[in-house]
Structures are given as structure tokens and as C-alpha cells.
Symmetry: C2
Subunit: 242 residues, 2 copies
């Protein structure tokens, strides 16, 4: 059974303010929870609708009904388990190899997909502007499918941080140089911008290289690619030559 | 004002069965609706919360309140307008150039993103298995951001159709040949599979080329890329050489 206080605490964790206050976040579904446990995220409590996670101490497990789980779930389709984890301390930024930087990406699905792409392409560091959607938002945690544990995500003053890194900075712009014809290095920062507005003028000023994914269809259109699919193409281009 | 019957009709259109029965689908938001009007989709009716679409006859416009719009909207965040369009007749499959084929893609967001990618990369024909999510699902229409009007989408018996096309068939598999090292033609079919199960064994049998996007990160992991991001990378690879 879940107590009223537990329900209150867990449902509060959909808000960043309360995640910060309690230092906790939630994850749902066996796959994602397992990945987080394996990666040494500190498990605070597990809510399960059937016997699961045999390696976990019974002291931090609560058996709940489907309707109780639905009450605490942050997803439209609730799973058969929900876990509360401690938010770990932020780690130092890794400056080797390629780094991805996000300038105000707001959609949780996009951030989650980008983390999964970083994991696929062996990119260990993601730097986010402070206005980028929070990593521990339940929809982000879900969309990462466990990759959250393998990519170091840092929230920073993006402009200051990028200047201090002293690395080449590649920004994606509609009018940049054709990425297929650009020599791409194996270290540097790749900046992706906000869904509606792209890269801010502040970051544009410090970009050392402007690149673009050419459009092959109707050339008059101004509609851009979705930021997660643009990230997929850009990362593939950077890595294919290595 | 919206009548009870109109509300009943419009809200029924979130279900494929009723879209088929009435031959109608809905689209929301100025941008998407404008693209559909420009592309000669036949507009049945417009519901607007303020004066919009000045070129459209007043006879098929209804001014509604925000709360009325919310009642008929299929989206969590309703917009300031909703349109009901006629579903056009399916057009003949175009067999020139590259064709994308989807083997049971179920997620509306994925289908919408893939249509947008086809539009970006100048791919005019998308072939879907009958189990693929319906093109006129409101979430698909929304995710295409208007591209729905520029890509010809056909629902067919995928296996039969692919065999009859007599084109090279490229399937994406975890154990396929490194796509970065494969010679890719400028005509042929690229098949992407279901989110959970990939390409079915039926289609695997008729694939003439098995390709894969190499993983650069943790090589033990079996988790695949999301189908929309995989499509982005594969289409970029096929088109970059042209």
C-alpha cells in the first residue's frame, strides 16, 4: 500500500522545484529502472505491482495495486513498476572528444532522444543551457531508455562555459556550410538550438563554424528539421569519418 | 457555437474507423492547416477562436470559444483553430528515385517525423504496411508539420508490393553491413521496421541488402536507435552522395 504522504511526495516529483528540494526523481518500467540500478544510481524506493527486482532489498520495496501505481505514475500509460532514485551530484565536464551542447531545448522527448543518440555515438558529455528541459523530468528519463546513466549531462551558463572550453564550436544553422562537404574534427563542441528559435544570437557569436544539413526536397520551404533528427544526422556525420 | 452533433462527429475522428466512415480527418494549428489548404486538401469546416484564414469562405467557418475548441481538440494543448478536411483518394505509388517503406511503425510521432524527413530529403513516396499507424491520426498530422501534403503515403500489403516493384530493397538490421561503407544507389526501397521488433521475417526474406548504422558507444548494449532517428541517419547517408 502507498500512503497519502508517499503519493504526495512522488507526484510532486514531476515538478523540477520538488525534485530539487527532495533530491529525488522517478523512473518507470523494468528496463529503465534496471539500467539505473546497474549504473549505481542510488535507489530510494521501489513500487511494484508484482514480484520484480529480486536483487533489491525487500525493505525498500512496496507491493501496490495497478490503481495505486496509476496514481503515482507520471506517464499516460503506467507500467508495472515505479522507482524513486536519488539525484546524484553533478560530475565535472569531460572535455575529451566530441561534446554536444543544447541551447534551450525544451521538449522532454527531444532531450531524451538526444541523450540516447549521444550514447549510441559514444559521446560522453552533454552540456545544457540552464533553460534546457531538466534531465530528471519523468518524460526525459523515460525517453532515454536507460542511456541517462551513460552520458554525463551538465547544466551551465552555456556561453561562459563554451568560451572557457577553448574548443572549436560547431553550430547548426539554416545558412551554414554544407555539413557533407565540411571537414569535421574528432574533438570539439556541436551546438543544437531551441525547437522554435534555433541557436541564440549570444551563442551564434561564439560559434567558430556554422554548418547546415542540406535540404533535398522543396527548397522554398523554411521549416527546419526536428532538433532530435538533426542531432542524429550531425552526429552520424561527425562519427562516420572516424 | 459548436452543436452537440458537430462535437460528436469531430471527436469521433480520432478513431480510424470513423475517419474511414466519414472520409474526414482533423488538423490543428494555423501552420498545419495553412499547409493543407495550400496543397489543395479539401477543407470541410474550420473552427476558430479568433478571426483567421481570411481567404476561406465564411460559410465554412465557425467562431468558437476556447473551451469549445478544447472539447473538440485531439491534442493535450489545444490551439486556436481546428479544421476538418476530406481524406483524398490514394494516389498511385511513384516508383522513381528512393522510396521509404515502413514495416509496422506504430507510434504516431514516429510516422509524422518520418514524413517530415522524407519531405526534407526529397523522397516523394512512403509505403506503409497495413499495420502501420494511420496517416490521418491527429497526432501524425500534427507531427508532420505540413509535410503530409508533399509526400505520397500508400498503405499496402508490404511484402507483395515490394516484390512487384522489382527494385533493390535495403533493410536496416542490427547485424547488417556498415552503412558508411556500403555503396548506396539513387533508386531503391529503404525499409524501416517496427519500434519493438524491427523488420519482420517476411520482409527480411525479400530484402536484397542488409544495412546497419554502426554503434560507437558501449558495444555490449542491444538497445537500438529510435526508428525516426535511424531514418534520419539512413536517409542522410543515401542522399549525401548524390
Amino acid at each position: 500500500m502507498v500512503s497519502k504522504n508517499q503519493i504526495k511526495l512522488i507526484t510532486s516529483l514531476v515538478q523540477k522545484k520538488y525534485r530539487k528540494q527532495h533530491g529525488l526523481f522517478i523512473a518507470e518500467g523494468v528496463k529503465v529502472i534496471n539500467e539505473l540500478i546497474k549504473s549505481n544510481f542510488e535507489l530510494e524506493h521501489l513500487y511494484i505491482t508484482k514480484p520484480l527486482f529480486f536483487g533489491v532489498s525487500e525493505k525498500i520495496k512496496t507491493l501496490v495495486t495497478d490503481s495505486e501505481l496509476k496514481k503515482i505514475s507520471a506517464l499516460t500509460m503506467s507500467n508495472d513498476c515505479l522507482a524513486v532514485f536519488k539525484i546524484p551530484n553533478e560530475r565535472k565536464i569531460k572535455t575529451d572528444g566530441l561534446i554536444v551542447a543544447l541551447d534551450d531545448v525544451r521538449d522532454p522527448g527531444n532531450l531524451g532522444t538526444i541523450i540516447r543518440l549521444c550514447d549510441w555515438f559514444g559521446i560522453e558529455q552533454l552540456i545544457c543551457s540552464e533553460q534546457t528541459v531538466d534531465l530528471y523530468n519523468p518524460k526525459v528519463v523515460q525517453a532515454t531508455m536507460g542511456s541517462i546513466s551513460r552520458v554525463n549531462v551538465s547544466y551551465v551558463d552555456l556561453s561562459d562555459t563554451l568560451i572557457n572550453l577553448e574548443l572549436p564550436i560547431f553550430g547548426t544553422f539554416m545558412d551554414g556550410e554544407n555539413i557533407y562537404k565540411t571537414k569535421l574534427p574528432s574533438n570539439g563542441v556541436i551546438v543544437l538550438g531551441n525547437e522554435a528559435n534555433g541557436i541564440s544570437s549570444e551563442i551564434e557569436k561564439i560559434a567558430t563554424h556554422k554548418i547546415a544539413i542540406p535540404r533535398f526536397g522543396n527548397l522554398q520551404l523554411t521549416e527546419s528539421l526536428n532538433v532530435a533528427t538533426a542531432t542524429a544526422i550531425v552526429l552520424s556525420e561527425f562519427k562516420r569519418a572516424t
